[in-house]
């Protein structure tokens, strides 16, 4: 099998719209959670979220950098975030000037969990109030999940695989895993892979609120709301943004002298076959997904130094994931670190697995693991596990694992290691 390495990174997050800014803020233990500004959420289950900040904010996002004005008007936010993150990754990889031949072998696998919810909601109101002849002609292709990939391929002339994963909150991890396989199987030499989400809108907050998935107890102090493994956790905090990596075949990257961040060595997938929203009570799917990824990597369990957990801050999920990790890793759990960066940027749903994989890659690069914020009173089950409470921690990081689990009982795990 051909080896697959990471040669470029791109991030749009609530704590920064470029890789270095977001990472610096993550390591500084900042929180991106605030009272929602996009709409008046006073009467909603939850009135706080981790929004991507506007361009004039210290670490805000300027869509004009990489997304044409016309495209911005036609598409939903998740597509704008995705195009920008993909552009960053391609620039970082130094692949903006590929020949036509090279571009035939360069593709995209950028998905989303939900897609264009804000636009579907607003155009439905237009249809209801003004009739069918007032619905935007860009309604359909401005909302479709595969239109990040579509827009990115048009913008950069990429003509390889044109793919988009939709597996709820596992999307980002599945996207990277699937794209890595496309390179391994010789379908492409370069793949932009990741996920994006932008559903902080009334119907999004109402929907997840009604599903009893959101944190609701921290209206006065939103930055305390996302607290994975803490006894006072009460649901996830919605985030938004995008993460995209540039994957490349190892020899291809070496031949052009590219900077190589790490190698994607393991990918595991499983299904819970249990419940549409609740995780399997034994963490069976999570266990098998991680087990498969580690097995594929050829590494020993003891070699995994850091896990970026799914860890959404929901009462059920955090414990079950920890149990699954404990069951798989046994005594090795005592020497590894595991944290959840959702404590800082919230849950980016379809973007989460990609953004968190990038934090794993940066942990490998900088030999430091990001903190779990607000972990004031870990539940009893956490004893003996380094969940990196409150502060980032310098340590040896040679191999990392990222977990992502989603509604529908879908699980994905990735293992990456230094080359």
């Amino acid at each position: 099998m051909r080896r697959v390495v990471v040669t470029g990174l791109g991030l749009v997050t609530p704590l920064g719209a470029d890789v270095e800014t977001a990472w610096a803020n993550i390591l500084a233990a900042k929180s991106g959670a605030e009272t929602i500004t996009r709409f008046d959420a006073t009467d909603f289950h939850s009135n706080y979220a981790c929004e991507v900040k506007p361009a004039d904010h210290a670490y805000g996002f300027d869509p004009n950098k990489r997304v044409d004005h016309k495209v911005q008007r036609q598409v939903d936010p998740f597509i704008i975030y995705g195009i920008d993150a993909a552009g960053q990754a391609l620039e970082d990889a130094g692949l903006l000037d590929m020949t036509e031949e090279q571009r035939y072998r360069a593709g995209c696998s950028i998905g989303s969990g939900i897609g264009g919810l804000p636009g579907i909601a607003s155009e439905s109101i237009v249809l209801h109030e003004k009739g069918p002849r007032r619905v935007s002609p860009h309604f359909v292709h401005g909302r479709l999940i595969n239109l990040i990939t579509g827009q990115v391929q048009i913008k950069y002339g990429l003509m390889g695989p044109n793919h988009a994963v939709v597996t709820a909150c596992s999307t980002g991890a599945h996207s990277i895993g699937d794209a890595a396989r496309m390179i391994a199987m010789d379908d492409a030499d370069v793949m932009l892979a990741g996920g994006a989400e932008g559903t902080i809108c009334p119907i999004g907050i109402a929907g997840f609120g009604q599903a009893r998935a959101l944190s609701t107890n921290f209206r006065d102090e939103p930055w305390r709301a996302s607290r994975p493994w803490d006894q006072d956790r009460d649901g996830f905090v919605m985030g938004e943004g995008a993460g995209v990596v540039c994957l490349e075949e190892y020899e291809h990257a070496k031949a052009r002298g590219a900077h190589i961040y790490c190698e994607v060595v393991g990918y595991g997938m499983s299904g819970d076959a249990y419940h549409v929203t609740a995780p399997h009570p034994e963490g069976s799917g999570a266990f098998r997904s991680m087990q498969m990824a580690v097995k594929r990597s050829g590494l020993d369990l003891a070699e995994i130094d850091y896990i970026n957990a799914h860890g959404t801050s929901t009462p059920l999920g955090d414990e079950l994931e920890l149990n699954a990790v404990r069951r798989l890793f046994g005594n090795n759990i005592e020497t590894m670190s595991m944290s959840s960066t959702k404590s800082a940027i919230g849950h980016l749903l379809g973007g989460a697995g990609a953004v968190e994989s990038i934090f794993c890659i940066l942990a490998l690069r900088d030999q430091i693991v990001p903190p779990t914020l607000n972990l004031d009173n870990p539940s009893e089950n956490c004893i003996g596990v380094d969940l990196v409470p409150h502060k980032a921690k310098e340590r040896t990081v040679k191999a990392v694992l990222n977990n992502s689990f989603g509604f529908g009982g879908t699980n994905a795990s990735l293992v990456m290691k230094a080359v």
Binding site: H69, K70, R73, R133, S136, P137, H138
Partner: protein, 78 residues
């Protein structure tokens, strides 16, 4: 420049994301301003909203330049 022309040009600039000085009366939406067929549907919708006119499909097909739009609106607005 007529008031209609000003408002039409403003809509074109906003929707197509082009520089205002490129939106001359002779400019063709497709050939000069980079619009595609869906952009024209959107522009026609915006003109209908802005001026309270109805632009039927057969009339919309004949609107290819900025001047065509201004003329149609001036002749049909209430």
């Amino acid at each position: 420049m007529s008031e209609t022309a000003d408002r039409v040009k403003k809509i074109v600039v906003e929707h197509l994301g082009v520089e205002a000085d490129k939106v001359t009366e002779d400019a063709s939406f497709i050939d000069d301003l980079g619009a595609d067929s869906l952009d024209i549907v959107e522009l026609v919708m915006a003109f209908e909203e802005e001026f309270g006119v109805e632009i039927p499909d057969d009339a919309a097909e004949k609107i290819t330049t900025v001047k065509d739009a201004i003329t149609f609106i001036d002749e049909n607005k209430g």
